[in-house]
Amino acid sequence: MSDSTINILKHNLVPEHVVLTPEEEEAFLVQYKINRYNLPLIKTSDPVIKMLEEEQNISLKGRIIKIIRTDSPAGEGVYYRYVIE
């Protein structure tokens, strides 16, 4: 993976993935009256997560990822996922 020459994050079929900051996570969880285990999941083995971890040089396990899709009929479709192993 590390010597891959393609940055999949920039591929036009890969929606934008944003790592929420701890403050944002807090606000998000309050907004939806939810704890993080009730979110849809994404594995650390997911190529996008691997790529993000590599880029930012951090472990994303236990963090929440915001996925912004622009191909939705409503314009912008936002989705959140909780990162697990």
């Binding site: 285990y37 979110l39 409503a74």
Partner: protein, 896 residues
């Protein structure tokens, strides 16, 4: 929630809320504790017919005879739900339901010290993983499977086969389904297994996925067997006075008999072999008591040879307790009968037979406003219509209204009483047709009481129910509370469902003769006299219609065009343009001047040009006008339009007349010759292709063999021939023929069907290839082997009208059979698929914050459908139809 009355609250205290449920395995102590008696006798009743104490029908187990009282709780029949007893088993046996789990645990634990076969550090790791927050459901299950398989593998081929705790060498465990285990060559008895399980420490039990507080592994080996209360297995007394016992009782008799024999033999110190045999027999009986369909075990049978229905069989499957008695029940206030059409009632209505209306009732509470009316109903009694069947007093006493009591009851009737009156016109009911595949399979209709014995249904509501009148039956349910009635009326009424939530286009609308009739009404040549127009307006119930200026006057007689009449149904501010179904898709659209009159333009509620047909109001076909009316003017307008337009069209059809016959497929001589020539040329082309192939000159297409290439080229040539023949027949068959009108307006059939009737059937196929199976290398014995010609491979050049020769007829039957089989298979498969989907998705809901969640609050979608759009309220998937808004505003702007 079920409301409790005051008496019940006094008896049982206020209703309690269930906080949680816990599932576990019954421990022997628990079984003994909940048991009211041990059962030792294999008999049920003595010679006098009294139940034997300590027998299977012990009176302590509950009451099944009316009039007696329970020996345990003192309640009467019907009040006492029964009490468990128990049987002390002479030797432990495996519970079939846990056989697999027993095997898993045997493999994962040490034969000596009963610890999990994992080193301490691994155990600690797994403990922390399991205790992590959010670990549950499938994630938790995955960890447990990991633990079990990691512990079990150690014994197998891989590396260390010794216990990391005590160092004992482990032997390989074999599982002989359904209930026998072997360790190496040695048999493991249930007693051995139980002994091992008892020693497993609680910490290890947790890692194997069991909660030791309510499910210790050794409890899966039975030492005590619970005996179900008699209320669960009542015996029936036949007319002849002979008692007949329930299957479960029979099975329990077997168990007790063998259990006793085993005990006696054990006490007498019988040889090992005999004891083992009896033990095995006991295991068999206990196994079949739980489940009589275990593979590898012959099912226990009744003396007559009938297979016994034991515990598992009672619960499982379509006729089991879950699907038949808990998920689905029989209900009161419902009716079912044959349906028949009635074009004169509204789409919102349902015709209810009088005898049904007198049986089904609506409770109505008496107030000072309706007291006199209700009193009148009660006075009518239950036989006359409209009447009432019951009145309910303040104290909840129900009184039947009969000819004798009706006068007294009417007198007694007071404010606050509830009268269960007959179903009346305008009451709201739910109407349903199975299979209930989507939410439109149950809709709310307004009652219209009618004579005769069928439910009457407007034809426009057939598509959502998928109903026809070849003997279909439908169900009706009467909501009993005001709340339910209001909910049904607001949410479920037919007119609210015109637009389907699935396609975002009308599912309720015209079909068949409404479409051909609309064509007859609105074609350019249709003119009507004053009388005819008046008749049409009257029948279609158009409110405040005023006759426009006549379109033409011939002699002294004024005539109105069909387009003018149709315009009377439209809102006066409606502007819309679209292409009708009859559109020929010319390269250059001539708009209003279209020679087929296929360009529909409505200006200010006037139909200026165009034919009204399928594109206007046909159900499920992307119809423009109905869709626009419902979305822009509301469901009331939509319903009124549909009700009126259908009646208008039927009247117009009655005036003009419409027919179809075999002469609709007559093609003039010149055309017939042309068609024959085209078919002949097609066959010739095929022969040429075969010739080229035989000589080896055929160039294969990329990715295909020569044979495949030939086959596809032949298919192409023949399809082309058929299409050309179709074009010719279409050219000769004009809109003056009924069959063509039906096909082109979308009423019934299509042009291909007409081609097949008039010109040629074309190529028959099975599985997408030309017919070739049947005999060796040929389809029928009347051809030579490897004959690749059109005729030999199922090309039918005849038309239905001309008639098929025997070979053609057989080919046609082959193709037809495939179609039938496909539909049969498809419905079965899609039905099962849908059932599974429904079970998986049923308890998800859209919450107030717009998210879709499961019942334990796990988010599935952050907005419904990931875009939050309701297809029924949007236009073709878009939230707003910008084009339409611009179009509308531009128009009003230029006008203003």
């Amino acid at each position: 929630m079920i409301a409790m009355n005051e008496e019940e609250i006094l008896l049982f205290g206020p209703p309690k809320k269930i906080k949680e449920l816990s599932f576990g395995v019954l421990s022997p102590e628990h079984i003994r504790k909940m048991s009211v008696t041990t059962i030792v006798q294999a008999d049920t009743y003595d010679d006098e017919g009294y139940p034997i104490n300590g027998g299977l029908m012990d009176p302590k187990l509950g009451v099944i005879d009316p009039g007696l009282r329970c020996r345990t709780c003192g309640s009467k029949f019907g009040e006492c739900q029964g009490h468990f007893g128990h049987i002390e088993l002479s030797r432990p046996v495996i519970h079939v339901g846990y056989a697999k789990e027993v095997y898993d645990i045997l493999k994962a634990t040490c034969k000596e010290c009963s610890r999990l076969l994992l080193p301490e550090d691994r155990l600690a790791q797994y403990h922390t993983r399991l205790e992590e927050e959010g670990v549950r459901g499938s994630i938790r299950q995955a960890i447990i499977i990991e633990v079990l398989s990691e512990a079990a593998k150690k014994k197998g081929v891989i590396k260390d086969t010794t216990c990391p705790h005590c160092g004992t060498e482990q032997a390989k465990i074999k599982f002989d389904k359904p209930t026998a285990y072997k360790e190496g060559d040695k048999k493991l008895t249930p007693s051995d297994i139980r002994e091992r399980f008892e020693k497993i420490p609680n910490e290890d039990v947790v890692l194997m996925g069991w909660n030791p507080e309510c499910a210790r592994p050794e409890w899966s080996i039975l030492t005590v067997l619970p005996v179900a209360p008699v209320t669960v297995r009542p015996s029936i007394t036949l007319e002849s006075g002979i008692r007949s016992e329930d299957d479960l009782t029979h099975k329990l008799v077997d168990i007790i008999r063998i259990n006793q024999r085993l005990r006696e033999n054990l006490d007498a110190g019988a040889p090992q072999l005999i004891v083992e045999d009896l033990w095995e027999l006991l295991q068999y009986h206990v196994t079949t008591y739980f489940d009589n369909e275990v593979s590898g075990v012959p099912p226990a049978r009744h003396r007559s040879g009938r297979v016994l229905k034991t515990l598992t069989q009672r619960l499982k499957g379509k006729e089991g307790r879950f699907r038949n008695n808990l998920s689905g029940k029989r209900v009161d206030f419902s009716a079912r009968t044959v349906i028949s059409p009635d074009p004169n009632i509204s789409i919102n209505e349902v015709g209810v037979p009088l005898f049904v209306a007198k049986e089904l009732t609506v409770p109505e509470r008496a107030t000072h406003r309706n007291l006199e009316r209700l009193r009148g109903l009660v006075l009518n009694g239950s036989e006359a219509y409209p009447g009432a069947n019951y009145i309910i007093r303040h104290d909840g006493m129900r009184k039947r209204v009969s000819d004798i009591t009706k006068d007294i009851l009417a007198e007694e009737l007071d404010i606050g009483y509830v009268v269960e009156r007959h179903l009346c016109d305008g009451d709201i009911v739910l109407f349903n047709r199975q299979p209930s595949l989507h939410r439109l399979s149950i809709m709310a209709h307004e009652v219209r009481v009618m004579p005769y014995k069928t439910f009457r249904l407007n034809l426009c509501v057939c598509p959502p129910y998928n109903a026809d009148f070849d003997g279909d039956e439908m169900n009706m349910h009467v909501p009993q509370t005001e709340e339910a009635q209001a909910e049904a009326r607001i949410l479920m009424r037919v007119q609210e469902q015109i637009i389907s939530p699935r396609f975002g286009e009308p599912v309720i609308g015209g079909s068949q003769d409404y479409l051909s009739g609309a064509y007859l009404l609105t074609k350019r040549s249709s003119f009507f006299t004053r009388d005819q127009v008046a008749q049409m307006i009257y029948v279609s119930d158009i409110p405040s219609a005023s006759l426009p200026e006549p379109a033409k006057i011939e002699g002294d007689v004024p005539y109105w065009s069909g387009k003018q009449v149709f315009s009377l149904l439209l809102p006066s501010d409606l502007n819309i343009e679209y292409k009708a179904k009859v559109c020929q898709k010319c390269e250059m659209c001539e708009g209003v001047n279209c020679k087929y009159d296929a360009f529909v333009r409505i200006e200010g509620g006037r139909l200026v040009s165009g034919i009204i047909d399928g594109a206007t109001f046909k159900a499920r076909s992307n119809c423009k006008l109905l869709d626009k009316l419902v979305k822009d003017y509301g469901t009331d307008t939509g319903r009124i339009f549909l009700d009126s337009v259908t009646r208008l069209i039927l009247q117009a059809t009655a005036i003009i007349g419409f027919t179809t016959g075999i002469d609709d497929e007559d093609i003039p001589k010149a055309g017939a010759v042309l068609i024959d020539k085209i078919i002949f040329e097609g066959k010739e082309k095929v022969d040429k292709l075969i010739e080229t192939y035989r000589q080896g000159y055929l160039e294969p297409l990329p990715g295909r063999s020569v044979e495949e290439t030939l086959e596809s080229k032949i298919m192409q040539a023949l399809a082309e021939a058929r299409d050309k023949a179709g074009d010719i027949s279409e050219r000769y068959l004009g809109m003056n023929r009924g069959a063509v009108i039906m096909a082109k307006t979308g009423a019934k059939g299509n042009m291909l069907d007409i081609t097949q009737m008039s010109a040629s059937l074309g190529q028959m196929s099975v599985r997408g290839t030309r017919l070739h199976r049947g005999y060796i290398n040929r389809s029928l014995s009347s051809f030579k082997e490897d004959d690749l010609s059109a005729e030999a491979r199922g090309f039918v050049s005849a038309s239905y009208k001309k008639g098929l020769n025997p070979k053609e007829f057989f080919f046609h039957a082959m193709g037809g059979r495939e179609g039938l089989v496909d539909t049969a298979v498809r419905t079965a498969q899609s039905g099962y698929m849908q059932r599974r989907l429904m079970n998986a998705l049923q308890d998800m809901s859209v919450r107030y914050d717009g998210t879709v969640r499961t019942n334990d609050d796990i988010i599935v979608q952050f907005a419904y459908g990931e875009d939050g759009i309701d297809p029924a309220k949007s236009t073709y998937g878009k939230a707003v139809d910008i084009d339409w808004i611009v179009h509308k505003n531009l128009n009003s702007h230029t006008e203003g």
